[in-house]
């Protein structure tokens, strides 16, 4: 187990339970997703694992080192991309990466090559010698991603890594994360508000709400539990006896529509259509991670529902300050 979290708890100001008795463990080479609404405690959890805030209770090991007893070694094993921008905007992109290489013990002989590769990967080579001040929000995000990966950590923490990225950049980041996992065997904990991203990248996800893990499993398993649905609209009064159709696990009637919960919607569609004498429209609804999220948190995450005090917002206010 590359990461083992044991009863980790963080109470802020003696009253806000940001993280509440969290337990989980991660295998080497696994990509683990932390999903949850704003304020669920994801960032707090990552920061405790990265040893920059102290747990109130419980502990964890990262790469075999206890976060309380050997924080230095833990830091030597990890890379982290923070939710908030944390590069120095008075320095150039290249300089930010250089400082990182120097502080994180990258061997001197590899500085130049690694930095250039990292810049190429996030397509910032032409802007390498511009001050970060002059970068767009997404460019800065990409720089910080490159920085988190520069020292090739054993475990990588990504706190909303693709927030503010355009679709192409996002997909490239996904590809890169996947290739890192495959080639270097690193393990990843990622938080995100993009369910599609979690579905695409994660071997397992935990949905956390108010500091507690509500559910934890493979995305496919979680989606399967929700089941597939067939929605018929404009059925009028002509509803057959649904209880007689044994493959229907559950159903719900609305004004002029019926929703049926089945195991394999495309296979059952024919039988369903034959049972209904008349309808206007039919829709198959495959479960998404979004549905899973909704089920366990009672809230919906929409695209662009950026975190409170999110990345872009912070950049804008910081720019004004400097």
């Amino acid at each position: 187990m590359i990461v083992e979290v044991k009863g980790l708890t963080k109470v802020y100001d003696k009253e806000v339970k940001a993280v509440d008795q969290v337990n989980f463990s991660i295998k080497e080479g696994e990509v683990f997703g932390l999903l949850g609404p704003n304020g669920a405690g994801k960032t707090t959890l990552l920061h405790m694992l990265a040893t920059i805030i102290e747990p109130t209770e419980g502990t964890a090991t990262v790469n075999g080192f206890d976060i309380l007893k050997e924080p230095g070694r833990v830091r030597g094993s990890i890379g982290i991309v923070f939710q908030d921008p944390s590069s120095d905007d008075m320095l150039t992109g290249y300089e930010n990466l250089m400082l990182h290489a120097m502080m994180f013990g990258v061997p001197r002989s590899e500085w130049g090559e690694r930095i250039n590769n990292a810049l190429k990967l996030v397509e910032l080579t032409p802007r390498a010698n511009d001050r970060v001040k002059k970068y767009s929000g997404g460019m800065r995000r990409r720089l910080e991603l490159a920085r988190g990966l520069l020292h090739e950590p054993k475990v990588l923490f990504l706190d909303e890594p693709t927030l503010g990225l355009d679709p192409q950049s996002r997909e490239r980041v996904w590809e890169y994360i996947q290739s890192l996992v495959k080639e270097k065997g690193i393990s990843v904990i990622i938080t995100t508000h993009y369910m599609e991203e979690a579905d695409h990248l994660c071997d397992r996800v935990a949905i956390i709400d108010s500091g507690r893990i509500a559910v934890m499993d493979k995305p496919s398993t979680l989606k399967h539990e929700i089941g597939e649905r067939i929605l018929l609209k404009g059925v009028g009064d002509s509803i057959p006896d649904l209880d007689a159709l044994s493959f229907i696990k559950k159903y719900e009637k609305y004004d002029d529509a019926v929703e049926l919960c089945v195991d394999d919607a495309s296979k059952r569609l024919k039988a369903v259509l034959e049972a209904f004498p008349s309808f206007e429209k039919v829709e198959i609804r495959l479960p998404t991670l979004n549905d899973v999220f909704l089920k366990y948190t009672g809230r919906e995450i929409r695209e662009g529902d950026a975190a409170e005090g999110g990345f872009m917002e912070r950049i804008m206010t910081k720019r004004k300050n400097r």
Partner: protein, 249 residues
């Protein structure tokens, strides 16, 4: 090995940022000139102290003042680092907190030494005669003072959340240090109560050492002065290391 390269990285950053913020460079040159010309020059025409004109007399005080202000105010950059979240990036590096602290200290000392050099170069313009020995003695004092005062600024900065808060606290610290140091007046023949406060001020010994080295007039022997400011610097560095160990993001 990685501690050393980490230290170097932190120092390099401070130097780069310093040279890029032109206002910092400009103010570090002009503030002392202003003091020397306006205060020293203006009053100097009417006051003679210990057989020299006032401008000459306060020159070592002006040197100390520049070091004091530049050094202590450097602490604001740790507050700034916290504000721009760069501090997180540094704190998550596999470096000791003492290394991070020393990186900041040598960064701040570099600022102060640059400023100190500029001010020392002004000396001959107002009639201070340098020999290599005088310059060496002055530099040693400036160096040790900078170490202590930068650490003081960082101790304060490490505890503060906002630049405004830092500014407030620092004024409460810096102005007494400055006015009690004898930078502007001779420290013998003071009323007793004031004399005690003056002797408690570490800057007093820095000013005294500089005055002894440059003008040949001092209250205490050079080595005693140096001893006191070295002890002060050592104490502040120890305190700063502790403060950084406890520092939160």
């Amino acid at each position: 090995m990685s501690e050393i390269s980490g230290l170097l990285a932190l120092w390099l950053r401070e130097v780069k940022v310093f040279t890029r913020e032109h206002s910092r460079v400009v103010s570090s040159v002009f503030t002392p000139i202003l003091w020397l010309v306006v205060f020293g020059g203006g009053l100097g025409s009417s006051i003679v102290i210990q057989g020299m004109d006032y401008q000459t007399f306060i020159y070592p005080g002006i040197v100390s003042m520049s070091i004091l202000f530049t050094s202590v105010f450097f602490g604001i950059y740790i507050v700034w680092d916290r504000k721009i979240d760069f501090l997180k990036e540094v704190l998550v590096a596999p470096l000791r907190r003492s290394t991070i602290f020393m990186g900041k200290v040598i960064g701040g000392m570099t600022d102060s030494m640059i400023q100190g050099t500029i001010v020392l170069l002004l000396g001959p313009l107002i009639g201070i005669g340098y020999t290599p020995l005088i310059l060496l003695k002055a530099y040693i004092v400036v160096f040790v003072m900078a170490a202590g005062l930068v650490s003081l600024g960082l101790v304060i900065g490490s505890q503060m959340e906002s630049p405004e808060g830092f500014g407030m606290v620092v004024s409460f610290v810096v102005y007494p240090l400055f006015f009690l140091s004898g930078a502007l007046f001779p420290i013998d023949n003071l009323p007793t109560w004031l004399g005690y406060f003056v002797l408690l001020d570490p800057l007093t010994y820095g000013v005294d050492a500089l005055r002894g080295a440059m003008l040949g007039t001092s209250r205490f022997p050079y080595l005693l002065d140096l001893g006191v400011i070295t002890a002060f610097a050592a104490f502040m560095i120890a305190l700063g290391t502790q403060a950084f160990k406890r520092m939160k993001t």
